[in-house]
């Protein structure tokens, strides 16, 4: 039996008046993949999820689950599991009633329902809570019930709309790992919506970054983080300072210094991405693996597990540099007003194309 289906999204457009909620989105989601739609609020990520679920009818485009075109299929015939942000559990039914609901709709035998509900409960580690009323559950338990309800009828596709956003941080971190484990066990194609970049990086096989209704980049978490396709992605995921660079004779130049660069140099105008944790303080300029940026320390802030040094480069650009709070690094901390040499390893020297369509903000 097929456990999962690929999703083919083609040229999906949704407008509200003159606003493009989705602007010609193309996306291929592989069978069994955990894909996260990541973007700021109002970016269109939830709209795309609702299009997949069938609750939002796009203006045009095509969505196929496997070979089946579903763009005009009503939600109840799409066979997708769905978990909402507020769980949307049915308060007039017990936990078992909620989980058994999709099975009853499919005319499953009573004994069979009971068995499968029990199984689903144990899958989400809620054994024995079937008779509980919904209002007797904690937030985390509600979350699990909503999940069990969405997977009990063995859909090939699971959609989740910010399912963890109502939980407190500790529980959220825990559930992230658990969801990930569950996904590995079930092998179901999962589309997950979040605005939390850390969550997206933690859980996903691939992350699709969306802004202003457009798909900007869809790659593995590492690629998204290391090689953002645009300034928006670089800024939205992790911290970064972007410094425009110049070109001369095929070389990339910053403040008169030729940069040693990793990967291909993009065409057109581009910027150097400086991530705080990628910068190190160098004792001298001797190490040839590093691009070196001299600057002056403005401030050093202790943040617990790490510290951040704010510095201004010779060109006047403000950058920050993060180091872990470890005895050696702390000892080498410069003090305010001191000159420092900030180093960036050439393998981590990445240029971002200055895309004109997604200026941040």
């Amino acid at each position: 039996m097929i456990k999962a289906l690929p999703i083919h999204i083609q040229q999906v457009v949704k407008t509200y008046g003159r606003i493009h909620a989705l602007d010609h989105v193309d996306l291929e989601i592989k069978s069994g993949e955990f894909l996260t739609l990541l973007g700021p609020s109002g970016s269109g990520k939830t709209t795309l999820l609702m299009v997949l679920a069938g609750f939002t009818r796009p203006d045009s485009g095509s969505v196929r689950f496997g070979d089946r075109e579903v763009i005009r299929t009503p939600p109840h015939k799409r066979d997708v599991g769905m978990v909402f942000q507020n769980y949307a559990l049915f308060p007039h039914m017990t936990v078992a009633g909620n989980i058994g609901f999709p099975l009853r709709l499919r005319g499953v035998q009573k004994d069979d329902i009971h068995q499968r509900v029990e199984h689903a409960l144990s899958t989400v580690q809620l054994d024995g809570l079937g008779d509980r009323r919904i209002d007797q559950l904690s937030g985390g338990q509600k979350q699990r019930v909503a999940l069990a309800r969405a997977i009990v009828f063995e859909p090939r596709i699971l959609l989740m709309d910010e399912p963890l956003s109502a939980l407190d941080k500790k529980l959220r971190d825990h559930m992230q790992i658990e969801l990930r484990r569950l996904h590995e066990k079930l092998g179901i194609t999962t589309v997950y919506v979040t605005h939390d970049q850390r969550e997206a990086l933690t859980m996903s096989d691939r992350v699709a970054v969306i802004n202003h209704g457009r798909l900007i980049q869809c790659d593995s978490p590492r690629t998204i983080y290391d090689y953002p396709a645009s300034p928006f992605v670089a800024n939205f995921i992790g911290e970064s300072t972007l410094i425009p660079v110049k070109r001369s004779n095929g070389n990339v130049v910053l403040d008169g210094q030729v940069l040693k660069v990793s990967g291909a140099v993009p065409d057109g105008r581009c910027s150097l991405m400086l991530r705080p944790e990628r910068l190190t303080i160098l004792p001298d300029r001797r190490n040839p693996d590093y691009n070196v940026f001299p600057g002056v320390v403005e401030e050093v802030v202790f943040q617990g597990e790490s510290f951040v040094a704010y510095a201004v480069l010779e060109s006047g650009t403000h950058v920050s540099m993060r180091g872990i709070s470890q005895r050696e690094t702390v000892a080498s901390l410069p003090s305010r007003g001191k000159a420092v040499l900030l180093g960036l390893h050439w393998e981590e020297t990445v240029l971002i194309p200055e895309a004109n369509e997604d200026a941040p903000g």
């Binding site: 939600p75 109840h76 599991g81 769905m82 909402f84 049915f90 999709p102 009323r133 309800r149 969405a150």
Partner: protein, 272 residues
């Protein structure tokens, strides 16, 4: 410390300084309830001029009421009209409330306003309008015509109550139900309706009361065999004061109180 000097709230107001408020409020509560309730003992007075407390007790006004074919007919007309009004209005209002709350049409607001016009147009104008139209359609003095008219009058209240219920209901539940395999109709019947049932019941109860209480439209469009009890009471009050009305009133107060208690009970069971 005695009770009067104890503070009422976190800011320094004592019960003593609020004594006047308690007394005034007590009087207002009496004003609200006593005149209505005093009819009950008086209806058992034997005298033509109802007394309180009755010097001689009797149930003659009840005999008058229950023994009179006219009053009994009128009562049944009212009960039937009210029940039929509930049967017509409740589903019509529920459908409209659902349709308006689900569709995000700009027209929804205007449709809603149009649907509550029966509440804003003076009843007397509605009454003569219906009377005039029914005269052309030969619908005056018919149960059908009466129920239609009362259904329209009950529609706004019913619609408002059910819409309010839907507003506080989480529509995501219906979406979830549909993604889990329920058709739209099924999702409404199995998930939404059970959760807004108290609003629907309240709406139905209101529809019943609106119809049962209605005087002015009934005054114009009914008569003879199809005369409602409130119409008959009104005519009787305007002409001469018949103490039988005291007994009828007592019965109506009892019914009202029962209904009120029932809604309280329903209300409690509905909220988790």
């Amino acid at each position: 410390m005695n009770w009067l000097s104890r503070p009422v709230s976190d800011i320094q107001i004592t019960h003593g300084s609020r004594l006047w408020l308690y007394i005034v409020s007590g009087l207002i509560m009496m004003f609200l309830v006593v005149p209505t309730l005093i009819v009950i003992p008086m209806s058992f007075s034997d005298s033509q001029y109802l007394e309180f407390p009755p010097r001689v007790w009797s149930v003659r006004w009840y005999d008058n009421y229950f023994g009179s074919p006219e009053w009994m007919t009128a009562t049944w007309v009212s009960v039937r009209a009210a029940l039929l009004t509930v049967v017509v209005t409740t589903p019509v209002a529920t459908l409209a409330a659902y349709g308006l709350s689900v569709s995000n049409l700009k027209a929804s607001r205007w449709i809603f306003i149009l649907l509550i016009t029966p509440m804003m147009v003076p009843v007397i104008l509605i009454a003569i309008g219906i009377f005039f139209a029914y005269a052309k359609l030969n619908l005056n003095n018919s149960m059908f015509g009466l129920v239609l008219a009362h259904s329209v009058l009950a529609l706004p209240m019913c619609l408002i109550v059910i819409s309010a219920g839907l507003k506080s209901y989480d529509m995501n539940q219906e979406l979830v139900a549909r993604s889990l395999g329920a058709s739209r109709v099924k999702a409404f019947l199995v998930i939404t309706l059970p959760q807004i049932r108290f609003s629907v019941i309240s709406g139905a109860l209101l529809a019943f009361v609106v119809s049962f209480d209605e005087v002015i439209v009934a005054l114009f469009i009914t008569g003879g065999e199809i005369s409602t009890i409130t119409r008959s009471m009104f005519l009787a009050l305007r002409d001469q004061i018949d103490p039988t009305i005291a007994s009828i009133s007592t019965v109506l107060i009892m019914v009202t109180t029962l209904a009120l208690v029932l809604t309280q009970v329903f209300g409690q069971s509905d909220s988790p």
